[in-house]
Structure formats: C-alpha cells, structure tokens
Subunit: 345 residues, 3 copies
C-alpha cells in the first residue's frame, strides 16, 4: 500500500530520483536534501560576485503565482530566477485573474499554454501546490512557496543550509522550535527536514494551545516551559507569531507571550553557549525576540535571508533539470518503442 | 475621396506597404495578413525551445500602457516582448499616472521622451490607439491591445492563426461567431480578418438585442436561432458574455442565454463533424460553453493562447522593422535632397 | 568643526573623492557635478541607438524602494537601470512590506542580505536617504529619488544637463525659479546645483507665503513680482504647484495664482528672447504654464525627460564604480596591514 510519503515522493521525483517539483519534504531522503544544500552552497558564491548571474535558466519563463500576497518571498524568488537568467512574470492573483469568473484550473491551463516553464505558488489552502502539480502539463515544474498551514519547503531548506554552515553537520544536534507551531507551515517543514537530515533531537517549545495535534507522531519532544526546553540547545528557531492566522483568543496577550516564550538574553543563556538563533522573518521585536538577541553575535537571521536566494536558485535549477531529463527519457522510450514496432514489421 | 479604410491603411503602413503600427484590420489586405501569420508560425517554434529567446528586439523598450486593467492580455504582450529580448515597462494608468492632473497627451509625450520604442495600448474608448498613433513621435510603434468596442486586432490574428493551423486555408470555410457580438471588439476584428482572408461565409449567431446595427454591411449572415446557424460550420467561435459591458437588461438571465446560445455537446453535433471550437477566454463554463465541449477533442482554446504569444511577437517585430525602414528611407531622402541642393549650388 | 556640507561630502564620497552615494548636492564641488554631466552626455547617445543597452551594471541588482508612490520617477530609474543591464526589483513599500509590523531598518537589512547593490529611495521624510546611507552595508549605493521637502538631486542634475546643452556653460547665466519654492525639494537642489556650477544669478520668483524661510542665506535674490523677476532671464524654471503638499490656504485660488505666477506668452516676452523654459513635470496646463508656452519653441521640457534617463544612468554607474573602488582599496589596505604584521613577526 502506498503511503503519503510514497505518493509525495512519486509526485516530486523522476524515475531516476531527481527532483522535478518541490512541494514538501515528506518522503524525500537525506541524499536528495544534501544535494540541494550542496547545490545551494555553490550558488552562495554567485551572490558575492559583482556580476551575480549564471546562464542556467536563460530563456526559461518563471511565473510567480501568488494567491496570498507576500512581497518578501516573491522578491527572493524573483531575484533567484533573475540570477539564473530566467524571465520572470509576477501575477498577483489575489487582486486580478480570477476576478473575471475564471476557475483556478483554467487560469493555470492558460499560463501553461503561454509556454511557462515553472510556477512558484503561494496559496492559503493546504495542498494547493500538490493539487496543481498533479495536473500540470509535463515539463512544467511546480515550486511550493507556502500552502496554508501545510508546508514551506524552501524556507526549511534555507534554514538547514544556515545550520550546516554554522554547525558543520546535523549529527548530534539538538534543535528547538519555539512559538506558534500549530499555525506554522514553516515549523512543519523544518521538523521534517531536521529528522531527514539526522538531527539528534527536535524540540517544540510552545504552550498546549499552540501545538499541533499529536506532536509526538512528528518525531519531536514537547516542552511547554521554555526554560527547560532551551537547555543544551545548539540551534534555537524562533517562529513568527502568526497574528493574522490566529483564530480566537489562544493567548492572553502579546506581553504575556513575550514573558513566557520571547527569546531574551536571560533565556538565551540557558542554551548551549555556541547556540545559534534563527527566525524566518519578518521579526516582531519585543514580541518573539528581544532586539539585543536579534542583533546579537549568536543571531544568524540575516544569513538565512542570503541563503534564501541560494536555496531557491538550487531548487529551481534542479527541478528544471529534472523536468528536462524526464522529457528526454520519454522521447528516447518512444523512439525505442517505434524502432521495435518497425523491427517487428 | 479617402475612405475610412484608406486612412486606416495609410496610418498603419509605410510607403512600401510594411506594417509600422497595428491598430485595426480595416483596409489591410490579404497579403499582409498572410505575412503576419507566416511570421507568427516561425515564432511558434521559439516557444517550444528550452531557450525561448530571439535577439530581434534587444535593447528596445516596450511600454505596456493599460488604461483598462487586464492581467491576461498584458502578460501575453510582456512574455512576447521578453522572448524578443526587449525591455518591458508595465504602466497601469488606471491606478497611477493621470492622477496628478496630467493630460493623456502629456503622459505619452513624456514616455516618448524616455526613448520608448513601442506602446501597447488598451483603452476603454474606441479609437484611442488610432488617436495616439496619429500624433506619436516618428519611429515609435503603436499596438492596439483593445479599444472600447472597436477593435482587438492581435486577438483576431491569433484566432486566424489557429484556424489556419487546423484547416489549412480559409478557402471554402464557414465560420460562425456566437453570442454578444454587439459589445465585442473581438468579433469586429474577427469579421474583418475572415473577410480579408477569404472565408466563404461568416455568420453571426445572436439575438437581435446583441447584434450590431446593420450587420449586413459587415459582410455577414445573421442567424437568430443557433440550431440553424451551426449547420455545416467548420469553425465555431464562442464569444465571452461581456457582463461588465452590458448596459441594462438585454437578456432575461444567464440560464436563459445558456439554453439558447450556450454551446453544448448536443448543439455542437449540428456543426460539421470536424468543426473546431474557439473562445477568446476567459471562459465562463456553463454560461457560454459546456465544460465537456471546452475540454473536448474539438476545442482548440488552449492553442489560441499559445498562438497569442507568437502573433504578438510577429506584430511587434514587424512594426519595429517597418518603423526602422521608414526612418532609413527618410534619412536617405533627406540626403538626396541635400545633394541636389549642393549639385545645384 | 565639521559643517553640514563637510559631513554630507564625507557620506557621499570615497577617500579619493569619487561618488559612492548620491543623496544631495550640498558640499559637492563643481568638478564632480561637471563629471556627472559629462558622463550623462555620453549616455545620451545610448538612448538614440536602436540597441539601447550598455553592459556596465550587468548582474547588479537595483531595488527601487518607493515609500511614496511615483510611477514617473520610478519608471525613469527602472529604464536607466535596464539600459545599464542591471536587474531591477520594484518594491512599493507604501502598500506592502512594513504592513507586517517590520521596522524600516529590518526591511532594509533583509534587502541587503539578498545581495542588492543599490537602493533608489523615495520617502516623505526629509533626510530618509541620508539616514539609510549612514547605516547601509559597505558596498551598497544609495540614490536619493526625493526625500520630503529636502532634496531631489537627480532632478536638479537633469535640469543642469538641459541648461548646459542649450546654453553651453553656466558662466553669466541668470536663472529664475518660479512658484511654490517652499514645498519644493526640486527647487532646493536646483539652487545648490546652480550655485556650485557658477550661474551668475539665481532668482526666486514667488509670493512671501511660498518662499522658504531666510531665502537670502541660500544665495538667491527674491522677486515677489514675476514681471520684474523675469527681466533678462536666460533660464526660466517653472515649479509644479504642489497641491498635495500645500497645508492650509496659502493662496487665494489657482486662477489667482495663474494670473500672478503662471507663465504666459505675454510674461515670457519679458525675459531674454533666447530664454529657455523648463518644468520638472507633470505640468498643470493653465495653472503654472500656458499651453502655448509649454509646447512652444522656447520650451525644453521634453529634453529634460530624455536627459533624466541619461543623468540617472550616470549617477548609478558612477556610484557603483565608487563603491567598487572603495572595496578594492579596503582589501588592499587590509592586505598591506597583514604583510606588515607578518614582516614584523
């Protein structure tokens, strides 16, 4: 019987195990994730050149299809694509396309007919990118830029790249994720990435009201009290308080939250002295994190941003290359089948 | 006495009969329209390459000047221009420029002074593109992307390209245009294109309330009943129900309209068995067309979209080339005149 | 004691006196301004080619960071950057970024971490570009595209280029600035530029209510009556009536303003017969200027627009080159320091 992980792997990988879509980390293995990190590493250097461009995706068309507005994430994908020499079309669907009564499926079919090569998709509904990947024209790659509460895999991979840069490897690492885990697609993808890459322990540090249901099934340990959870941590990942996603009164107040789960210098002292501090941004200073910690020597928050461009370049170029390989293989298979028919004839 | 067609031809063509603006099809001849289709055909192949780029308009600046918002049409012009290697500037005038009290004419003069090479113009007023073309700086090409109820010539030409691909030629073809003809600039341009290219018969299938005044003068036959109009048709062009353009209660209801003029499998069976089904998009499923027909084997709706990029590439590169030729000729003429003066001196 | 001019010079120039930011003209000298004009002159020719592109900034990333919307100014910077082959990211901050509670400083740090090379900044607060330049990552250039009532230096420099083109030099020139000087960042920068470049006389022609406080300290002569102020002028610079910036009832009515300070053919006749007429645009016809004058033979308003692209290309390429030189020098200095340490060791 095919599990979720199996079907997710099949959807994202070619027969040879190469990436062709990038939707979520479920079912992907350590070798592939490591290949993404290695590829991203090689692109870090491109961002440091004065000519920040490689011709890998020249003449390819990337469509940024954002059903939820996000200037920041859209910009990183746009910059990553331009550094790969791709042409970029930004469509803010929340304000435009479906307004004329067209279905989502028809909008997509139209964009595919315009010979687009890749869609970067952000959508408020969990599973939107998977849904689209299942039906998309062969040869077109889908990259998930965040779907509902489900997954945000490029964010998780840029976090992994940042951890590897600072810690060398994942072996023996203790990583804590702090805050509103329940509403966070970032946290879901981070937990999967850390488990696949072999971190020793993943901790969720959050009150009951902000935990996912059955957290233990995710391969994590839960710490309702931050002071206990921080002990010996090598990596502290603060989550953004998703004020816009919180339904109802799950927390007494921001001030109360900060007192219990905000990362202050005092609390940071409880972790390993060489612990690094991460945050996906944008940060709410004084709500999740004290300014002195965000700007302090243990913070790697801006490295995360820089790595975001490199990881997106890696994922886009790998998916395009996987799509190309698959098409060539199919063409070869067809040719062989025809030769066989002719041989028999 | 110069007719409308004469003046339209003069405005759009160089002295040698080459395209220099593309405003409407009125007054253009079969040879020119065929040249547009042939050029577009040669660009179809570019969209199928992995590097979808030709350097024809490298270093040229295209300005998308949309006084009516239209993400879809703007995107096709933007992609077409980028595949020709042009630089693209998108200006959504409905939200910005004239807000500071500047006249349309001043906005245009300013953009021309920025060394723009081409304007793609969409405007709610019929004749806007003509008006602009009459006054524009020599060397700058104007492309009409839809003006009021008047014309949408690139849409009509992509439809012609789609018909020619599927039917080989226009000789002997019976083509029906179904729906809200009165409010449709697309229909006006299609009728002209079909007559110029030599279709045998063009039919309008619509109730009296959605017909233009004096349709017979347009070289068409009118069929108020769809069942009769569809008989023997080779090409069925469904129009979008322009709900946003309809003034007052010209129709009892969408349900009633669908019953009378919606294209269902049953009605489609009345046409020629090899008839193709077209729609300019975005489609209203269940209002103008049954989903099974839109997605069925006779539908070429997505081919139209693909052809839209190729036709726009053709028209843009031809108009730029016409402008260049005209400038060179004028420079030569000036030189000759000067030599004559010097010879006489 | 360091003056404002000193600190402004230090912030904008490298140790070798090359431009590395472009924030305001205060403290800059005639040689540098002349170098900007000469560089811009060399780019004028690029705009006249059919391939309007030079590879100077290929692979560089320019971010247009507009906290005040301005389609026109943003477009000229975007076109200028594309003609230098840079990649452009447009961020309309007024509608997006800080909406999620992020501080301006964090937004900028994030953009810098994405390996941006240059920010073009427009902001409603005077001093915003200086503030940002003071803290920006080394290597990143800041260009001021208008801050509050303070400065708009690229506008002033395109005006200077236009004057030099038509008058040859600034020696002996009498220049009048007419209208709402008090609210105009353009006027402030023009006055500085004209004084640095050695114009003989700069006049402000405005009612008391629209004059800055202590105009005499700016090196200008004040003329409340236009008829007197226009006498013998070589250059007449009309300002836009900043209706959106005017607080309270400083003027009886637009009609009254036009009667007193609008430039009509009658009034123009009072200036030098070869006087040129300038306006930063967008113009309010019949409010600041009579249509016949705006379109007349003495108007150079559209030349200003064309020059705007060239001046922005000049400033961007010079600032990038200054940043590069500074980084190379710092690297060399570091190397020398290390060699010295090793030599001593």
């Amino acid at each position: 019987m095919a599990t979720m992980a199996d079907s997710n792997r099949q959807l994202q990988l070619t027969a040879d195990g190469e990436l062709k879509h990038f939707l979520s980390l479920e079912g992907l293995d350590r070798a592939l994730l490591t290949r993404i990190l290695d590829t991203a590493d090689s692109f870090i250097e491109v961002g440091e050149r004065s000519i920040k461009k490689v011709p890998l995706l020249r003449g390819r068309t990337l469509v940024n299809l954002f059903f939820e507005p996000s200037t920041r994430t859209r910009s990183t994908f746009e910059l990553a694509a331009k550094r790969l020499s791709a042409d970029v079309l930004n469509l803010d669907i929340s304000t435009s396309a479906t307004s004329k009564g067209e279905t989502l499926s028809d909008t997509l079919l139209n964009l595919e007919a315009m010979a687009s090569d890749m869609f970067v998709i952000r959508h408020a509904h969990s599973g939107a990118a998977h849904f689209i990947a299942r039906d998309v024209t062969p040869g077109v790659a889908i990259i998930n830029a965040g779907d509902g509460r489900h997954a945000h895999p490029t964010q998780a991979m840029l976090d992994m790249l940042t951890i590897r840069q600072h810690k060398g490897s994942f072996t023996g690492l203790k990583v804590g994720i702090v805050g509103d885990v329940q509403h966070s697609r970032v946290a879901r993808s981070q937990i999967q990435a850390l488990n696949i890459l072999g971190a020793e322990e993943v901790r969720l540090i959050a009150p009951d009201t902000l935990l996912p249901t059955e957290p233990e099934a995710m391969g994590v340990r839960v710490f309702p009290r931050m002071e206990q959870g921080l002990k010996d941590l090598d990596v502290i990942i603060m989550l953004r308080l998703q004020r816009e996603r919180m339904e109802g009164a799950l927390l007494p107040s921001e001030r109360e939250f900060y007192k219990l789960y905000g990362l202050t210098r005092e609390k940071l002292a409880l972790a390993h002295p060489k612990a690094i501090v991460m945050h996906p941004g944008p940060i709410n200073r004084g709500v999740e994190i004290e300014s002195e910690v965000a700007d302090g020597p243990q913070s790697v928050i801006l490295n995360q941003v820089t790595n975001g461009i490199a990881v997106r370049m890696a994922v886009m170029s790998m998916a395009m290359s996987g799509q190309l390989a698959e098409r060539q293989q199919q063409a070869k298979a067809q040719q062989k089948a025809q030769q066989k028919v002719q041989g028999n004839g």
